[in-house]
């Protein structure tokens, strides 16, 4: 549909999700590792699910692809695209270490809250 909206779309996430975040352990690295674990698990499932669907769709069409996948060599454009996607995965999985890089009370970065300060 070509119709464009004239409503201003909030580009940013709100303070709750877009802010410095919460920490629940004295050692914030544990918070970060657990975040990473969740993102990583979600990513693993997402890719697994896609391969499931892909194989099902191909099988429905009578196409056997396993050998072709192993034999495939990417060109430069595909290499660049895959690199970009891989970097995005790294960001998603390890982004929490960037978001909360210090222990609570360290002044280098906004200090994550525990939720109990109110």
């Amino acid at each position: 549909m070509d119709q464009k909206t004239d409503i201003e779309v909030p580009a940013k996430l709100g303070d709750e999700i877009g802010g410095a975040g919460k920490a629940y352990f004295n050692d914030v690295v544990i918070d970060n590792i657990l975040d990473a674990l969740l993102e990583l698990s979600a990513a693993v499932w997402t890719y697994h699910d896609r391969v499931n669907v892909l194989e099902t769709v191909l099988a429905e069409k009578g196409i056997e692809v396993s050998d072709a996948i192993e034999a495939h060599l990417p060109d430069q454009a595909e290499i660049a695209r895959r690199e970009e996607e891989r970097a995005a995965l790294v960001q998603r999985v390890f982004g929490s270490f960037v978001r909360r890089p210090t222990a609570r009370g360290n002044s280098i970065n906004p200090s994550p809250a525990t939720g109990d300060e109110q």
Binding site: T5, E16, I17, I30, A42, W45, V53, D116
Partner: protein, 363 residues
Amino acid sequence: MNRGAIGVTPRPTQLADESYLEFITSFRRLAIQEMFPKVAEHGEVALAKALENGDVAAPNEGDAISLGEIRKVFGQNPVTPTFQRFVRTQQEMMWRRTRESFYRDIDNVMAEMDEAETAHPERIHIDPEFVEPDYTRREIHCQPGGYTDDPMGGIVFHYGTKVFYEGFNDQDELHIELAEKATKPADGVVNNVLDIGCSIGQATTTLKKLYPEAEVWGLDVGKPLIRYAHARALAHGEEVHFKQGLAEESGFADGQFDMVLSYILFHEVPVAKMKEIIAETYRVLRPGGTFSIYEFPSNDKNQVSASHRFLIDYDSKNNCEPYSPGFVAADFRGIIEEAGFEVEQGPLLTNPFLQSLVARKPA
């Protein structure tokens, strides 16, 4: 981009979004249904021991143990912060990805709501001069923009709550139960029905199916929710009125309604507003009318366990529920009675966490 619907729930715009969000749903089930009971069991046992050996002072007769003591004892178990971390993180992941997914289809989603407004402007009531009070503009449940400030808030809320309900409300099952169990007036006359804090109108639309001859209204402060509710009701072929407004200042006539329903509204407003909403509901109900209330538990008689108080306290601070501690501590039933209602236990729900009350306006 539009991948259709899962029955009555919109489908994420890409398979990768759907897989990711389904993973979160499965993870959330584990955290809430399997992990929290362990945290609760460990905490209750530790608290009992702490009371027994004097590490925690026993409260005076009739007083509750302080939340600070509960937090301290429960926090000694390292699995407690792990649970807290997991629940907060899955909530953030859920909103980010849900929003990202449906924003890809923003032009179509907005156009559908615009077209619904154009097709049936007589059933959507939005006053352009209406200003949402500050207390309503919170990012409840951490939803970016909350109920009021994200034009895509309706569809984002719909899929987000699908994950929140762990897949058990995909086809509005829970809202159908609420509407079916809403109590009718003793004389059985139901010509006008109101759903306050109706959000995207899941119970409202069901009420219309149950009472097809009645005029059914949904009222909510969130314009994005009301617009989505209106479009959804139209898509379902139900003639329901939706109005953006305040439940404490609804603008309806005295005695206009035979039945009013509210579902988990009151813990999302300050106690002072709760009292105003109850008084306003009394005003708009006709004598003999009924008010069906499904809500968070109240701890006015110390009937809520330490582990549930711990969970509600955590939820308040970490899932942006700023008003729920005030609600839980308030004498909810007493406040309803003070407004003039006769209050009784309502029908039990599948979800045992919620309280169910029926308030009748004397005939």
